[in-house]
């Protein structure tokens, strides 16, 4: 039986619960675990009424070597993404009879029994979803260039079979994310996601899943249009059943905005997408979004305020001039 899990802090538990509810409804025999990048000890304990119906696994309980160093090094987004393969490996280790581990971002909900995914994981070591399966129509955000330094595949989802190839990949991924789960595009780094570009090269048996019902999100709206069958089933492009939708960058407080990360569509352009977002907004509110979002994460750090910017600039000046001189001369 596969295990599905998500990772979040307490402030995102409404999302995690909504995902869990959707899975329980569509795939009732699957295990679902919430990996919690937060702490619930002492004063941070949640009132009973806010405990989700799903098991929660706190990140400091899964034996990440040098976790303290990762906390010190990373901001909250980097930390939340860096622990992904560590959770996967923990599930492999502690539940040896699992046949697959599936990760979903907390802001995903599942619409159908994922039988196609289960089938795929019988014959493939990894299942990955590209952001887009076809070129973008313009240079609004996101576009074909955006994914070139952030990653071809979206790591809001990954399916991994419990086999040696997948485990070797997870070991490699963990190794990279200890130090280099940063958001530093110039250095070739974008959290956990960019690294997975290597998967089709390093791993023999990767399925690049182009089914248009998978991981539907703002980055692939240009190639996916929505409709409903009479029985309420959501369809993509009139034929394929919607499997899972990823509400990345959508906020209950800004219900008129498709995502804070995109500039291509409004709901006026895409009335077909509106009901999918509206139903999600309602479910988040029903699941206590307004309460959970008040909880600050235990691992959050004060933002770094750069000081003495002008002084530093003056100090750097002679060195920058030296670099410019060296790089403009053709060398003798």
């Amino acid at each position: 039986m596969p295990l599905a899990f998500t990772i979040c802090s307490v402030n995102y538990l409404a999302q995690a619960r909504t995902l869990g509810d959707s899975l329980r409804q569509t795939n009732p025999d699957w295990q679902f675990v919430i990996g919690l990048v937060d702490r619930l000890d002492g004063e941070r304990a949640l009132p009973q009424s806010l405990y989700p119906a799903y098991p929660m696994l706190e990140v400091d309980k899964i034996g990440i070597p040098d976790f303290a160093r990762m906390c010190a090094r990373y901001d909250i987004t980097e930390l939340n993404t860096a622990v992904k393969p560590f959770f996967i490996d923990y599930f492999y280790e502690t539940q040896p009879d699992l046949d697959a581990v599936i990760y979903f971002d907390p802001d995903i909900i599942v619409f159908q029994p994922l039988t196609r995914l289960s089938e795929s994981l019988r014959t493939h070591s990894l299942v990955l979803t590209p952001h887009c399966c076809s070129p973008n129509p313009d240079w609004l955000l996101p576009n074909d260039q955006t994914h070139l330094n952030t990653g071809i595949f979206n790591l809001g989802f990954i399916g991994l079979r419990h086999d040696n190839d997948a485990r070797q990949f997870v070991r490699w991924w963990k190794g990279r994310l200890v130090d280099e789960c940063r958001n530093d595009l110039c250095a070739g780094l974008f959290v956990d996601q960019f690294w997975v570009n290597y998967a089709p090269i390093y791993v023999e048996n990767v399925l690049i899943e182009k089914h248009v019902g998978y991981n539907v999100a703002y980055w692939n709206l240009h190639e996916r249009f929505f409709s409903q069958r009479d029985d309420g089933t959501w369809l993509v492009n009139g034929t394929d059943e919607l499997q899972f939708f990823h509400y990345s960058g959508y906020g209950v407080d800004k219900p008129a905005q498709v995502s804070k990360y995109q500039t291509r569509y409004t709901f006026q352009d895409r009335p077909d997408a509106w009901p999918l977002f509206d139903l999600y907004r309602q479910r988040l509110l029903d699941n206590g979004n307004e309460t959970y979002r008040q909880y600050p994460c235990a691992y959050i750090k004060p933002p770094v305020v750069p000081r003495y910017v002008r002084v530093r600039k003056v100090l750097k000046e002679p060195f920058n001039r030296l670099i410019a001189t060296l790089e403009s001369s053709n060398g003798v």
């Binding site: 070139l148 780094l189 090269i201 530093r312 030296l322 060296l326 790089e327």
Partner: protein, 326 residues
Amino acid sequence: MLLTVCTIAQLPDALTLGASFGQHHPGQVFVIGLADDPARLPAEFRCPYPLLTATDCVSDVPTLSSRYTPTEFTAATKPVFVRAALDRFTDEPHLLYADPETFIYQPLTPVLDRLQTATVLLTPHITRPPNDGHWPDEKALQNVGLYSAGFLAFRRGAETDRLLAWWQDRVRERAFIDPCAGLCLDQLWLMHWLTFFEGVRVIKDPGWQLALWNLPERRLTQTPAGWLANGLPLLWANFRGLSNPDAGLFREQTRLRLTNRPDVRQLLTAYRTVRLTHEQDGLASIRPSFGLRPEPVILRGWRKVAATAARRLTRFIDQAPLPVFH
């Protein structure tokens, strides 16, 4: 059909490639796409192969030329030349592209065999994690693209047409080398091919596209039947960055040390000897006419040390914690 794209100065490389191809595929078409001004060719130069020129194939050369360095200009014209070659030689069912510094050692039949069931073939720069602290590391390769644009194989058809139209459109304005923006020549765009197009295959065979970037994971042996790479027949090698250390994206690589690799030295010496026979007076010294922006300066020796130290200092000045006075 085999195509290469080069400047006038790279013609000796291209002629060497053409001769090695002709040896294993006698009578088959070898085309040169000249990303340069044909008016600058020496009067006595006679090209033994069909020559497509930027002036004939590329629309609005002056605009493109003012936008790019010569390296970027050449990259931006590659898909245009692929299209032009397919349009000119309409009987050819396949098109193979190889960098001019390529040398063919065996018939390329295995490539054509693979194209029976694939639309496009790609070769990755590396096939396993290097994990050795050398440069380029995995993140540096992400900035230039994980698949090499130094060798590409296309089967003629609707999907290839679709791919070429898209690629050509993207590189016309976005073939800059600019890692922060997610751009690197025509090559970084290859990252989308597996997901945007059908029938794209990644080939990891050690006998394909032996090159500077993958030699550390491949051992060469010479046998009476020819060179083997990791025990399999060597079909072709790309000498970019090896025959001329100032060329290519891996000028500062530290992984391959020729002093420890007599096998590579032997292969390289043999290549240089053959290439010498294709040198013609003056060709190599003709500077590229297109790509008006200057190429970045390559720092070596003390200049490189000084620039690296200065960069480290500025980074320290940026990040050093300073006490706060109120």
